[in-house]
Symmetry: C2
Subunit: 420 residues, 2 copies
């Protein structure tokens, strides 16, 4: 099969779809999203049947229980997908917003207009709900989407996309606006990032290896995070009770997520007061602790932490514990071992809080709150298409606004260039 | 020579410089820029001597007059460099700005803080002034800069960088903040875009071939424009007198620039009224005209335009002339042949002006003004480091703000994640 040609054809359709969806009014885009939500629910039986095929294959392949759980669609999950689309429909449309419109000395008005990006490729793991979620966000922001979900979910995704495309078409819009790469070959993933001039942005989600492969192959901008090695620093001026529940929440509430804490940094000055109770609480919750030499002087029952552990994203009930000399020591640790994802300080000292906020170079920096709160819903974006730890365009959770960009607009009455 | 190792070492120094400059106060950054401006002027003789070596080599190589002119430094150009640095010093510092700080239902405040990007690599042609201009902009926005200028200017650039680095060091800042790749090998350019995790952004300037090579080799975000194929569309509802002087300015005022018009699109309804006078004016100014069949019915003296000409960036006194059926026809032409750089409509019709503004997907879209105005100074950014036709992070002229990004900040008082 000519995979290259196939992907190019699909992407070219998406580009036509992008020109179409970019012009659609907010009201019409909302109608489409609402209709999609309704139809997913009314056709839930069809979706569940398609999903059963994927589940059967997955079981035959012996995939893990966790993977099969992520892959599964049921009535409740279809309702959640529909609900997600309705929530995006209810959000304000970022497209068309004009900002910073100012008059220049020659009388012309110069401002910026928020416009869609164009064609956005989403590469994701075998979670069928992403198919609907990503489509809703991309369309609402006026973009066409090219979906490339995990091959284990291919039947489920096909069934979902079939519904979404039908609705796009029924509203008179080129159905390339929702484009699905429906061949399971992995090479199809690697063709997309080569289509400069057709695809405008790629957002890969999933394992670090896949994301690195996409980024290294890409001539197109990629927004992503590789991993979340997140820290909480408990300062000597912290409310130690607050520090205890923030650290506990950051590690234990849902350890398998990218914004969960992987290393706890404790100021030497309060380590003796803070660590014993904290360690007990973690142990009661089944957390395996790996301590530095200084920490083990306080509690020798911790395992030894090795330097390479500090780079680790455990995604599990395992935690590195390190005693640091002071906040500078903590910030140096974060700069060296962190992944610029989510980092927090617990302190009552205003000056230190402000310095930590300014100097820690992460996508979200927290004072006295859990790193687990780094999330589009929690931050008020309404929904998110992923979290970026990149340094250009978007950092942190990416919502509708991050799926658009600003162009310059000029309103003149005959202005010319007369110098330079 | 180990070019790979050399570039890696330089970039690593720049990364150290970036951590240092990111923390420097606005006042201190301004002092550094002012001191740089002063010192460039007091050491002008040294700079001119170094420049003479480059000129001698260039003459021996038989470089064109235009290239040698761009390469030349004299007292006036040194004053302009100094003036540029003083102007950047006088601009407001974008770093630290906090926006959209809002309270969430759980009581935490979530906002965005503008922060430096980190290490920015600038790859540019043999214009020594860019060395000072780019350094001023990058430092003011709190970034370290890696400079890689055209090899013909190596002695001039070395002399300039030597002054700039000395001043950075004298202000107690790691001099990696201004890093210069001082080997002439072209391979050195191609190593920089591979240093993901060290270099954060690359801005290449110069010929399309070089920019394409950098982009294709890069694992790092690249902001650039390949070329400027710019259009002016003269609508049937235009003030034809205004249209005449806008089109003339867009083509003739400085034809060698990326924002000069390459194709003039003329509404069929007014072509007979508009073209004869316009063509006469262009011819009097020495412009070679290439007309479409419809246009040649009005003036047969034009050369024949070929389809491939519409993709051309002439950078010269040559212009394509095309008669179009209406605005939609014009917008379709721009979408197909344009380079998303600068496009203008001349019209008195409000509805068409607004549609053109919204639907033309270019970095700057003009109503009733010359495309030549697409420029950082003209738009009020104070200065620019280049123009981007990319669709993420920055479109149009890039000033100080475009050399920064926004991270999320959270001020809490013990907030935890309790769901999801």
């Amino acid at each position: 099969m000519d995979i290259k040609g196939y992907v190019l054809k699909k992407a070219t359709e998406a580009k036509e779809g992008a020109r179409a969806i970019a012009k659609v009014s907010s009201g019409q885009k909302n109608n489409i999203l609402i209709k999609m939500a309704e139809t997913l629910e009314t056709k839930s039986r069809e979706l569940i049947e398609a999903n059963k095929k994927d589940i059967a294959v997955a079981q035959k392949k012996g995939l893990s229980k966790a993977l099969i759980d992520r892959l599964t669609i049921n009535e409740k999950r279809i309702q959640e997908m529909a609900q997600g689309l309705l929530e995006v429909a209810a959000l304000p449309d970022p497209v068309g917003e004009i900002t910073k419109m100012r008059q220049r000395p020659n009388g012309m008005l110069v401002g910026r207009m928020r416009v869609p990006i164009g064609v956005i490729g989403i590469i994701y793991e075998s979670r069928p709900n992403v198919t609907a979620d990503a489509t809703g966000l991309c369309l609402k922001a006026g973009n066409a989407v090219i979906l490339r979900g995990g091959s284990e979910a291919i039947n489920s995704n096909k069934a979902i996309v079939n519904i979404l495309r039908t609705i796009v078409r029924e509203h008179g819009i080129h159905e390339g606006a929702v484009t699905f790469i429906d061949i399971p070959e992995r090479e199809a993933i690697m063709e997309m990032p080569k289509l400069e001039g057709i695809v405008d942005l790629i957002i890969p989600r999933g394992g670090e290896g896949l994301i690195r492969a996409v980024t290294e192959n890409s001539r197109i901008p990629v927004l992503k995070h590789y991993k979340g090695v997140c820290h909480v620093f408990v300062d000597r001026d912290a409310d130690l009770k607050m520090a205890e529940y923030i650290c506990f929440n950051a590690k234990v509430q849902r350890p398998g997520t990218c914004n969960a804490m992987e290393t706890m940094l404790v100021d030497k000055a309060i380590a003796k007061d803070f660590l014993p109770k904290m360690i007990k609480r973690f142990k009661d919750a089944g957390v395996t602790l790996k301590g530095c030499a200084e920490g083990k002087k306080i509690d020798a029952s911790m395992e030894d932490v090795k330097e390479k552990d500090f780079y680790n994203e455990y995604l599990d009930l395992i935690l590195n514990v390190k005693v640091v000399k002071n906040m500078d020591d903590a910030m140096n640790h974060i700069a060296k071992y962190g992944s610029a994802h989510s980092d927090a300080i617990v302190t009552m000292n205003h000056e230190k809080a402000m310095r930590f906020l300014r100097e820690v170079d992460s996508s979200a920096v927290f004072v006295n709150a859990s790193t687990r709160l780094n999330d589009g819903y929690q931050f008020g974006l309404g929904a998110e298409i992923g979290i970026s730890t990149d340094k250009i365009h978007a950092r942190g959770p990416m919502g509708l606004e991050e799926l658009t960009c600003l162009k310059f607009i000029v309103l003149g009455n005959g202005q010319l260039r007369d110098s330079g």
